[in-house]
Symmetry: C2
Subunit: 597 residues, 2 copies
């Protein structure tokens, strides 16, 4: 059975030494988590993830969810009690404002505790994660009455939330959606249509489920400009907050999926269900984007989370499994064989995972901090910088973390040989669970298009220019330091590749959009490598400083320096391959007739 | 539900125009398949795969196999009838000698029809495939009496075969195996021990199951030099060929696996089961290697097979699924949206798969031809050339085809968006099934070590030198041809990278084996890219010639030329990244203490 230990020490190092968390103490909610308090909270979250949530991961995979004839759904054994523990611990509303029942703590902390929960049991963590996303949209776009009615119950986890976008004919292209909203005399709407792939659409964990549904008001324009957002609760909510009659929205069936069996993925049928408009009519997509951006960062973190737990188990197995002898002479001459960690190729697999995990965690926490600054800072200039960087990095993190997260679960599984293919060892579940992260919340190809088509040109390229400048300044500041050279020099080369690719896109993508489309995926990954390389260089800088400052940290810091060097030597050079692919353009791929595929 | 159409035309083109199959007509068995006969046989195989075997693929995945209390195992609905059709059609013994009940046809044909069968239903095809591997070992190492007793029944599929190597403590490192063989007075042996991960170990398709088992004769040396190979039939076989008493070998349990649910993966318990020594005592590993080499090529072909069927379904979906609009202006203005094949990033995914598939098929068929030459030619020099090349390419094909085959099933699944994650569409099954190919028959890291540690230095590097020379001569012959330039020039650059990497290995790997280990995986993939690039250049040459010779073939040949150009532009350049990784050596990865992972 797999094990999991939340990386609290690494998180504290990243937040404290690399991202200088203490410098944000003026932001609302940050003052409460200074010094030792931060580690205390994280250790509590770790305990919950390790002891309560993780032991249910394989059970959820095996049992899945069951839909009954009355369209109710029960989750796997133990999920209800664990969900109560999470909800009652205040973890769902950790970052929600106190006036709406939350803890008012940094979103950054919530992102981190979500990593722990997702490593422990991604299917389970999704029930809370979707509620957090729905709550964010409510708080941003709902009116006061809606917030008063729904937010505290959602923040406390007594009710859960869902996002309802996809329909059979309408996935990426939301303009095609046909779910109808018909105004009722009392100001509410009748919602009718079918939604598919609805995570946590029906279950037995919460007293009510608040569906956030995209639908088209009768007579609204076609396409994405005629879509509105509605709250459609499973049980209608009376003005005093008590539950009213059962609404006419039901789970028609559960999808049979490759993974995340513990989460109920539902076909949801709306048949004149009562819905309440959120925000302005026909502006539903904008409201939904609030959920989608946080959700995308959340999914990126899921990619990291599965990579982390897969790594931990593979590393443990590699230290214990005896098979073969070191090519450089036995390391365990008294045993029947050496542990497989002696083999360079096993180390290659482990280091490729580990070198991603630590940097990805740094990037995710940096993005979460940007989100906190963007939403909480009083300094408009700081908000803009943070918003720009977050907008730019969100598709990169979603696309790259989930692609690599999945690949890493595959590598970790490979370390186990044949045992990796057997269910009881748990490694193949990580692979199956990780696979969905590349698809949902916008398939990764869509993230790449968002990056290239929207985020790069936005505001005249302000965000990307600022990012280049930031990295350039870091390089300039570190290039004279001999100890930093092995990190800064490769970063400079990689940044050069990214600059060239960006220039190529400007020169070739605008004139011929297919060139941008053809380059987008490689560009996203090129960008991701540079971002990971940049944070590794910052980690290295912090590790060198800490090693000198605190001799007791030397072994841990030296380990980081080695893992970072591995990234620089073997993983960062991928940027030149990506660039070479990008500049070949779209000609060849577009020259084949559709029917010849 | 997925569809499948066997690529008969492509195979005929590859065999005829690229590999010049007709020039081998002097080899035994080749004279019977000249001209139209080849296509006729392939169309028969295609029909069986498409109409009989493929419709059972999802059924096998859903139903799996069932072990009963009496340790018998039943396969999924329809498997028995389909197996009878395959066996009675003579497909299992297609390449076996006629004197032992086979058809005596080229192994190359058998490899190709195995591709079709594996695309259609890999779990099902394994039952026959393992029998073919066991039969090959029997014919090479069994005595006349053993061949007479077992071979015809196996060639006809009335009996099936298995390979029994792995034990709980012993996977890659066969020296650790502990299954015991105790001599009996009558010259047979008592086999006692437990084997795990035994594919097709027990089932209801054949009247008898002939287990080829590795065990250690009492008093034999420790390690791999004390291992012998035994035949241990499920039912003992009387001298007249009739079935005797049930032997004491039973399926203890079925493994719960990520995929290949249709194949019974068994824990096999041997308790003083009667076994018969095959070949010399303590030389079992050598005999097993015969099975393993053919099995490795067979597994490489499984990687290709799943990539092929995944491609076909993804391409069909991409032509039909309407979602979004082309960035270059709508291609379907009257429809609600354009088919997603208009999007460059969808084409990228499809072309990466297709550009692998066609080249991989060419390489696999070339390797199969080498195997035929090595086993059937009267020309000793030709045999040596073929054996050298086959030995060199076997680990490359196994490692690279299965890594890329798996990645390609993931890409094909991605084309389906959310639907790709849902079982009914069948795409996620391809991913789960493909995953095992990277693990069994020697995990891919082991293939890389076999290549670097054994195949490269063998006979003073004769095989690799000959391969370099062969590719170099092809390049020299084509470099003056302008139409071939887009293929030959990138190949030359890639070959240069391979030469440099080989040189680096010679200079750094011998002195420090960890350098070879650290480089091995990237070297295998670098090698694979060059091999794929080389066959693409040969395909391009043949396509250019054919286009001129037969104007009716122009569209098909032009398509190949475009797909080949895609490979050259976007996939072959990976060689430089692989080289860059290789030359970083083992220092960084070996500098981390085992306990710090």
């Amino acid at each position: 059975m797999p094990v999991y230990k939340a990386p609290v020490d690494d998180a504290v190092f990243l937040l404290g030494d690399v991202l200088h968390f203490d410098e944000f103490s003026q932001l609302p909610g940050f003052g409460d988590v200074t010094g030792e308090m931060l580690a205390l909270i994280l250790r509590e979250a770790a305990k919950l993830a390790e002891e309560v949530v993780q032991p249910l991961n394989q059970i959820g995979d095996r049992e899945g969810c069951v839909r009954h004839e009355d369209a109710t759904v029960t989750t796997a054994k133990g999920f209800r009690a664990a969900y109560r523990a999470v909800a009652e611990g205040g973890w769902i509303g950790l970052a929600a404002p106190q006036e709406y029942g939350g803890q008012g703590l940094p979103y950054t902390l919530s992102a981190l505790t979500n990593e722990f929960a997702s490593s422990a049991n991604m299917s389970f963590a999704m029930y809370s994660g979707l509620t957090q996303g729905a709550l964010a949209a409510l708080l941003r776009h709902g009116d006061e009455e809606q917030k008063r009615l729904y937010a505290p119950k959602m923040a406390s986890g007594v009710w859960s939330g869902t996002m309802n976008l996809t329909e059979p004919q309408c996935g990426t292209d939301l303009g095609l959606l046909t779910t109808k909203a018909t105004p009722r005399p009392d100001g509410s709407y009748s919602i009718t249509g079918q939604k598919i792939f609805i995570s946590a659409g029906e279950h037995d964990l919460a007293e009510n489920i608040v569906h956030f549904v995209l639908a088209r008001i009768e007579g609204a324009p076609a396409g994405v400009k005629g879509i509105s957002l509605f709250i459609t609760p499973k049980f209608d909510v009376r003005p005093d907050g008590a539950l009213g009659p059962r609404n006419n929205v039901f789970c028609g069936s559960l999808e049979h999926k490759m993974g995340i069996h513990g989460n109920a993925t539902c076909v949801m049928n709306y048949d004149n269900a009562r819905g309440y408009l959120v925000g302005e009519a026909n502006r539903g997509l904008n409201a939904m984007f609030v959920m989608m951006n946080e959700a995308r960062l959340g999914v990126a973190i899921q990619g990291l989370a599965l990579s982390e737990v897969a790594y931990q188990n593979a590393a443990a197995y590699a230290r214990e499994r005896l098979q073969g002898r070191s090519l450089a002479g036995s390391k365990n001459p008294d045993g029947k064989a050496d542990p497989i960690i002696v083999h360079p190729d096993v180390r290659r697999m482990l280091l490729e995972i580990r070198a991603f995990n630590e940097a990805a965690r740094g990037l995710a926490l940096g993005a979460a901090l940007d989100s906190d600054v963007a939403h909480r800072s009083k300094d408009a200039a700081a908000r803009q910088v943070a918003e720009d960087r977050l907008g730019l990095l969100t598709p990169v993190l979603k696309g790259v973390f989930t692609d690599l997260g999945f690949e890493n679960t595959v590598k970790a599984q490979q370390v186990f040989g044949g045992h990796g293919y057997i269910a009881e060892w748990g490694m193949e579940q990580f692979v199956r669970d990780a696979r969905i992260t590349m698809i949902y919340e916008g398939a990764n190809g869509i993230q790449a298009l968002d990056l290239v088509g929207r985020k790069l040109p936005k505001d005249g390229g302000r965000a990307i220019m600022a990012y280049f400048k930031e990295i350039g300044e870091f390089i300039a500041g570190g290039s004279a330091d001999d100890a930093l050279k092995p990190y800064v020099d490769p970063l400079q080369a990689a940044l050069g590749d990214l600059r060239k690719a960006t220039m190529w896109l400007m020169q070739n993508g605008l004139a011929r959009p297919d060139n941008a489309g053809a380059a987008s995926y490689d560009y996203m990954h090129l960008f991701g490598r540079v971002a990971l390389g940049y944070i590794w260089a910052r980690i290295a800088k912090a590790a060198l400083e800490k090693k000198n400052r605190e001799p007791a940290s030397a072994t841990a810091m030296e380990t980081k320096l080695i893992v970072g060097r591995y990234f620089m030597e073997r993983m960062l050079p991928e940027t030149s391959l990506r660039l070479a692919r990008i500049v070949t353009g779209a000609d060849t791929m577009m020259s084949l007739d559709a029917e010849m595929f």
